[in-house]
């Protein structure tokens, strides 16, 4: 089946089997390996991308379901060579160790700050509760997202 998916603002047209999962479309067809792939059972959340701005687990979405829709992956966060605030936060606050969960965490964090610009710790923990950090670095992930929220709050003033 021929599909066109807009990924990070670029349309990509491919012939795919209906059973191809979005995560493999991104990684294998488009070479966007920033989206990781772990449990394959919609538990760990490392495959999280944004579909029309909403975080989804791409191991449980068919690529054909994204036809005509917008996907944002971690590769799409940086703008004109500048990292997004959430990426900077993870750098500043040591929000990653091995980095396996990080792309998914960043996309969830981005969506959270787009909808709740100044989240408290509880809201952050709730937002990332569908994602596992195998390095158990949750404290620093929360701090990183708080840092990004503060930085964006500052920039808005």
């Amino acid at each position: 089946m021929r599909i066109t998916v807009s990924v990070n603002g670029q349309p990509h047209t491919r012939d795919v089997e209906p059973r191809l999962l979005l995560v493999h479309f991104l990684r294998d067809e488009l070479g966007l390996t920033g989206t990781h792939w772990g449990c394959d059972t919609s538990n760990c959340g490392v495959c999280t991308v944004q579909l029309d701005g909403v975080p989804v687990k791409s191991c449980t979405v068919l690529a054909v379901m994204a036809d005509g829709h917008e996907v944002t992956t971690v590769e799409g966060l940086e703008r004109d060579g500048e990292l997004d605030a959430v990426q900077k936060g993870f750098v500043e606050c040591h929000g990653l160790q091995c980095g396996f969960c990080t792309p998914g965490m960043l996309l969830t964090a981005r969506r959270l700050l787009d909808t709740v610009p100044d989240p408290d710790e509880g809201q952050i923990r709730e937002a990332i509760s569908g994602q596992l950090c195998r390095c158990t670095g949750y404290e620093n992930i929360v701090r990183s997202i708080r840092w990004a929220a503060a930085a964006e709050g500052e920039a808005r003033r």
Binding site: R19, D40, P55, K57, T60, V61, M65, T108, Q131
Partner: protein, 286 residues
């Protein structure tokens, strides 16, 4: 790497089109919306449909609104949308209680109300919620729509009243004043299926319980409800003693099984205790 077996994929552009596709592909076709129950089952070959009919484009099924004296919830409403809808959660706080503990926020962004109900997993949360609320399911076929009380909707594990050539289109929940509702769940870890869970809906008139709804999941309660406990409560003043007795009755009439989530006697204990707690919480909210 887990990949589903091959299937044909069709995208429905209207409800009649979806019904036409269901008829064309026959009983081996499955409807897919969020896909968060079906796709994992397809990866494991627990489900192997020959065709998937994608209904994600049917925006007419995504409505969530009050119509007359009912809350109408389209089958395609996502869990996250139900949780975010203050119309729904103010009227029926049981939705807020339940949706906060169904899977996780990212799964809730995608999974749908209709999908959860049609999956009819014996541990599914919303089945107990809608059962407690005495909702009505609206099912559409080629010859029009029909309504089914939710307690007749579930006909067994993974079995519903929806025929292979039909589509669940919406749920209708009766609104009445003097009502409180709550849902209480015990899970092993955040986002898991329940070990056991109970929902309660209480309508109190002139100091006595005019109608009680008790929903139970994961404990082998037929149709996800506890009619004996409801009958016991009707006509009594709400009290901790009555709620505890109703819990004991509910537990007596369920049929929990020992599995990886816990032994049967523990689940039976939970059925009683969670029913009691849900009733008490519902009473507080009237």
């Amino acid at each position: 790497m887990q990949v589903p077996a091959k299937f044909a994929y069709e995208r429905a552009d209207s409800v009649p089109h979806a019904l036409e596709l269901l008829e064309r592909y026959g009983p081996e076709a499955r409807v897919v919306a969020g896909g968060h129950s079906l796709i994992p089952m397809m990866k494991l070959r627990l489900a192997q449909p020959e065709a998937l009919i994608d209904i994600n484009g049917l925006t007419e099924l995504g409505r969530l609104a009050v119509e007359d004296d009912e809350l109408v919830i389209g089958a395609l409403v996502r869990h996250a949308e139900l949780l975010a809808s203050t119309i729904a959660t103010d009227l029926f706080p049981i939705f807020r209680d339940a949706e906060r503990v169904i899977a996780d926020p990212i799964v809730r962004n995608r999974g749908t109300i209709g999908g959860s109900l049609c999956q009819a997993d014996p541990s599914e949360d919303l089945s107990a919620v809608f059962s407690a609320l005495r909702a009505t399911a609206v099912i559409q076929g080629r010859n029009g729509t029909r309504t089914v009380p939710i307690r007749d909707f579930h006909q067994g594990p993974y079995e519903t009243a929806v025929e292979p050539d039909e589509l669940l289109v919406r749920l209708r929940v009766p609104i009445s004043s003097g009502t409180g509702s709550a849902y209480v769940k015990v899970e092993r870890r955040v986002g898991d299926w329940p070990v056991a869970a109970a929902g309660a809906v209480l309508r109190v008139e002139d100091g006595v319980i005019a109608q009680a709804g008790v929903g139970l999941t994961a404990v082998g309660a037929e149709h996800f409800c506890a009619p004996e406990a409801e009958t016991y409560l009707a006509g009594r003043p709400p009290s901790p003693e009555a709620f505890a007795a109703a819990g004991r009755i509910a537990a007596e009439h369920c049929e929990p099984h020992t599995d990886q989530r816990g032994p049967a006697d523990y689940k039976r204990h939970l059925a009683a205790e969670l029913t009691r707690r849900a009733l008490a919480a519902a009473a507080e909210r009237i």
